[in-house]
Symmetry: C2
Subunit: 566 residues, 2 copies
Amino acid sequence: MKKLNFLDTGFLLAESREQPMHVGGVALYTLPDGADAQTFLNNIAGIMRDTDTLQPPFGDRLKMGPLGLLGNVHWEADPAMDIDYHIRHSALPGPGRYRELFNLVSRLHSTLLDRKRPLWEMHLIEGLQNRQFAVYTKTHHAAVDGARSIHLSRSMLSNSPDARLQDSPLSTASWERYRATLGERPRRGLSDREIRNVAEVLKARFDSGANLFSAVKRFANAWAGNDDALALPFLKVPRSSINTSIDGARRFVAQTWPFARIHAVGKAFDGTFNDAVLAMCAGALRTYLQNHTELPDESLKAMVPVSLREEGDIDSSNAVAAISADLATNIADPAQRFAAIQASMRAGKAFYKGMSAAEVQAISLLMQVPGMLLMPLGLASRLPPFNTVISNVPGIRETMYWNGARLDGSYPASIVTEGVALNITLVSYDQNVDFGIMACRRSIPQAQRIIDYMEDALTELEDAAGLTSARKTAAPRRSAKAKTKAKPRAKVAPKAKVAATGKAKPKPKPKPKPKPKAKPKAKAKAKAKAKVKTKAKAKAKAKAKARVKPKSAAGKKPTTRPSRKK
Amino acid sequence: MKKLNFLDTGFLLAESREQPMHVGGVALYTLPDGADAQTFLNNIAGIMRDTDTLQPPFGDRLKMGPLGLLGNVHWEADPAMDIDYHIRHSALPGPGRYRELFNLVSRLHSTLLDRKRPLWEMHLIEGLQNRQFAVYTKTHHAAVDGARSIHLSRSMLSNSPDARLQDSPLSTASWERYRATLGERPRRGLSDREIRNVAEVLKARFDSGANLFSAVKRFANAWAGNDDALALPFLKVPRSSINTSIDGARRFVAQTWPFARIHAVGKAFDGTFNDAVLAMCAGALRTYLQNHTELPDESLKAMVPVSLREEGDIDSSNAVAAISADLATNIADPAQRFAAIQASMRAGKAFYKGMSAAEVQAISLLMQVPGMLLMPLGLASRLPPFNTVISNVPGIRETMYWNGARLDGSYPASIVTEGVALNITLVSYDQNVDFGIMACRRSIPQAQRIIDYMEDALTELEDAAGLTSARKTAAPRRSAKAKTKAKPRAKVAPKAKVAATGKAKPKPKPKPKPKPKAKPKAKAKAKAKAKVKTKAKAKAKAKAKARVKPKSAAGKKPTTRPSRKK
């Protein structure tokens, strides 16, 4: 019987009907050529239902003493493991677009896992168009952390379409096989002492309800030996509709962008890929809040986990630090916004300079949980530790297969917490970046708009970086869109029509077309180049844009897989 | 703002993750000729989404003060009514049998309603075979009681396939129109004093945790002026696997029988239709417990709500009394079992003799809630007030239509409570009786078997009543079945095969074929008749049996609509 550590128990304690604490994702696959959907899915379900050798804790349930979650909590083998309960077969209503998929995933992600059983579910979903199927998984954060989830999904995939695994990815055999292929050492866990330091703060709250705010600050300062405001949560965090009391229903939307596009923006501004992601999200959030006439004067802050690994450094390879990034949503100019974001990220990383991997991990865990700590005090929505979470998870950079079915995309489905009603998580996969956006259904009723605004923000950044000269054609389109913002329902009819005619349907295998090779090393250079761009190039850019806009009836969207519109 | 009465609040208080307190059902429809499934369902969804005029409490959410559920609770209009949240579109995975439908309904019934929203959901389900679709509804018991549910479903149905309603059954307009068509006076609610008497007992528990058991007895005796053991819960209630601690997951199965078949058995034994239903269920439970080698020495008791209306009595028309019926599961002989059940039902009704409708209702409410009362004490699974609930709801005795879609069956989905892991509810509809069985997934993993055993029990009763001479052919089949009981998985493969070949698919409109007219007035008479039965008749009977057994590859099941096998 393995004992849960204090943090894992914390995820259970923090859970409520309004705030399920499970993480998961949706993977999109294309059936192997010639395979029958029913047969293939039944076969996969059969493999998944092989329960004899489940690795912990997939066959384990929670075991508590008389103190419940406040006492010691262990994992014990479920004596009546009911695998059919966990492996489920679902289907989408017609016409089987991504819209229907996201609707279903939103619902599935809104329900609590059963605490009397092993804390996971897997849903095989049929009914998608173009020979695709989807797999939605949810696992309690107390059972499996992010790193483990990624290892699990990797262990079941192969870069060969001909590879076949006859045991469940959740089996011990699969895990052992995968572990043997890992070139690097497994992550070192936190030491007892390190956990205890984090635990003490958590405990202080649960035992006494004492002054948590100062405790968190004191703790952070003690670790860091300084007081760098940029890296600490709670400071200068404005309020918005994203930072309200949440309810139990979720909205999930997802979208794919070419990695190269975002990467080029980062490079053009002398920043990182992650800086570009943040700038793209920041621009989208600025537009979203503007359209809800509630853009705060102060900039939004995002909790951003970043890897601190340096070249050749293996030991700290899993040192993921939580940085409270300034999203500069109060800055109108995209280039200036990028610069401000970049500066805050650099300051955030500097904050962790000199810490051991374990120290970084401990303090980062603490930073990620203040929402949990504040909830029992009813403070989270009044004192959000940050406005949102933007998490970039490194993924696999080649095409992968699950028993011959090609993985088309993999979209994270994360947690929203009291006071932080929006989570943006992205995974790089193959030539793409797959974004999964999880939102509280009531607080953010138009989550799907954020996807549109992200594309707008990326275009704006490309324009600012001189990666295109299509800025003039872009401008009127964007303002035309702005006009429709007052009537959210107005978009439904025409889009439904587009979908019905099949024009907006994504291609089964949208191989991303690399953009025309315009890779300026710096902004100035890029601008100079922009001047010599031919008309033909501008046209190509306009075309490329049309592609990612499902509103365009002619759009084929080769680079964007799902796009939920409503 | 309408205040919830104490009982409705009790349903909220009694609710937990393991014990959702919503009721509902699944209605099966056949699409009108020529109608396209997608178009028809979208049209129906559109009608349902007309939110302007929702009748209370379908547009209302709970409003509580600082005391929460322990203080006053009101309904208040939901300021952000999100109708898309409540009206949902779902689909079944292939091959779209009733098995897939029941799987989905089991899952949907297992999740809690969101307390921050109006307490109902409606799921339009596509993907069934034979042009059928299903509608699953769930509504919190605090929001709508059984009588209201029936009125609601009646208000949307018509006996004409050509009738079209353009407003939602949940709209005020629909309700007003329906009320106008009612020939009888609306039900008189309980007076404040009557509610208070019930409430006092409930309160005694919540305030003091005092001796509940004696309080319940005292209360019941005070009302009744006597102490008829047969009609009181808690007395001589044996324990079984049906009476354990429940978890949050459900198994739902459903089946249809011809009304005439069950009615004939009741008549043959000089009993009522309801007596025959109880005998059929009792036989099934006896077999189920025998096969789990845990048949208690003492007979199981069922909580049975019965109508006490007498001919011409309009005032007490809704006086539904709760009787604790002796199911005589310890008696092997079906005729003797029937007699014992009948006697206990008569005694139960006698217990209520001379009470006003309101008195009957008050005491019956109390009898139905002891499970709720015992739960906070953790006693329900150790001291079950009864072993199961068998509830017979009178329905509509003609074919009905919803905007042209023929209603093929209507299966109640009720509540299981701590200590009472099984609920059998039935509705008469058209020429049939539709049974819905709700069970705790863990406590009763083979709920679908109960359906088979009910058919066996009915056959056994028919044989005992001399309604058939096919007893000899029945015996070997039943014992052959008993042999497979030890390996529950053994049945899956052959059944899946049968389904895949389409042989077991139910007909879209299974017009029940009336059985050969053998209506003996009494047992003796019937037996005499049985002697002169021709061989041809026995054959016909054997054939009829084959029909209701989906295992039989040749079976067409014209009289049984859904039958979930696993």
